[in-house]
């Protein structure tokens, strides 16, 4: 008889524990939302990349300027850098594009190079295009002028 009571208690305990974990799993809300891990994540709403003549204003001094156009057709890899088609020393005037800053030709020891320094080669490590998204929090931030 005692044995039966023990088994029933153990079964109850097990049931409690498992049901507990199940509710815990359901209540976890991550960046995925409440979507099940197995399921597909929510579709991201599509945002258009902004083309803005004259570029974007900076938010703070020395901010890498943001890219005011689409960049999906230009590739940067070890062989070539598509951005330089317009932003290079040679072509920027003709293309009416800003030339990459003088700092981009310096090595970390301050030596000036003929070509873009390898540490500044991958443009979109610092420069990013912008989409027509609303700010996450309403604010009246103004950048430096």
């Amino acid at each position: 008889m005692k044995k039966i009571i023990h088994i029933t208690l153990a079964a109850f305990a097990l049931l409690l524990v498992t049901s507990g974990t199940v509710t815990a799993k359901e209540s976890i809300a991550s960046l995925r939302g409440t979507e099940d891990l197995e399921g597909k994540s929510l579709k991201v709403t599509k945002k258009k990349v902004i083309s803005q003549e004259g570029g974007f204003e900076r938010s703070y001094k020395q901010q890498p300027p943001m890219i005011p156009h689409k960049i999906d057709k230009y590739k940067i890899n070890l062989k070539n850098n598509g951005c330089l088609k317009c932003h290079s020393k040679k072509n920027h005037k003709k293309e009416k594009a800003p030339m990459l800053g003088e700092s981009h030709f310096l090595t970390r020891d301050g030596k000036k190079l003929e070509k873009v320094s390898s540490r500044r080669y991958f443009c979109n490590q610092c420069h990013a295009p912008q989409v027509d998204a609303n700010p996450l929090v309403k604010n009246d931030f103004e950048g430096v002028k």
């Binding site: 156009h69 590739k75 062989k79 070539n80 072509n91």
Partner: protein
């Protein structure tokens, strides 16, 4: 003419017609068959290198699903030029079967600048004829283009630039050794 002679002439004519249909038809059939992408990528050199790279570009994947196949850009549509290109293609067979100098991605990569320069030169010489099979200045609405593109296209018409002067590496990756920052349509081309 006797009856026998008549019969003879008739049969010669008939044989000629049938032979003509078979030969000319077969020729055209072979021409059409070798002018498909499936034929181009039946060689691993084409399948693994240019075709692989094409798939990342707007000429393969885009909003409307209209796409260009290999021969659309690399084989002229006009008969005479098409024949010339077809004969030149024997050189490609020679390199595929005998020289074997592009049969690995590494070898291909090493030779890519040279190969690209050949194509750029060909397109420059023909005023980008194959591009213009689809892309036509007369049908371009500059109001619908971005202001930068519109400005440059107007300039191109005025100064007589050709498509390939600016649009290099739009259907395959650019080769190593070519610097887009040093190439400008009126300057010295890398090619």
């Amino acid at each position: 003419m006797t009856n026998g002679q008549k019969k003879g002439t008739f049969s010669v004519l008939l044989i000629g017609i049938i032979l003509g249909i078979i030969l000319w038809g077969g020729f055209n059939w072979a021409l059409a068959l070798t002018n498909t992408e499936q034929f181009c990528i039946s060689c691993h050199e084409m399948r693994d290198n240019p075709y692989e790279q094409l798939q990342d570009t707007i000429h393969f994947t885009n909003r409307t699903g209209v796409r260009a196949t290999c021969p659309d850009c690399h084989v002229p549509k006009e008969w005479v030029y098409k024949m010339i290109r077809k004969i030149q293609a024997s050189n490609e067979l020679y390199h595929h079967f005998i020289v074997k100098d592009v049969d690995t991605p590494e070898k291909f990569e090493a030779k890519k600048l040279e190969l690209a320069k050949h194509v750029w030169k060909a397109m420059k010489d023909t005023d980008s004829r194959e591009c213009r099979n689809c892309h036509n200045f007369d049908s371009m609405d500059f109001d619908k283009q971005e202001s930068r593109s519109a400005d440059r296209h107007e300039e191109a018409i005025e100064k007589g630039y050709t498509c390939i002067d600016c649009h290099k590496g739009i259907a395959h990756e650019l080769p190593e050794g070519y610097d887009p920052g040093e190439d400008a349509p009126d300057g010295e081309n890398a090619g």
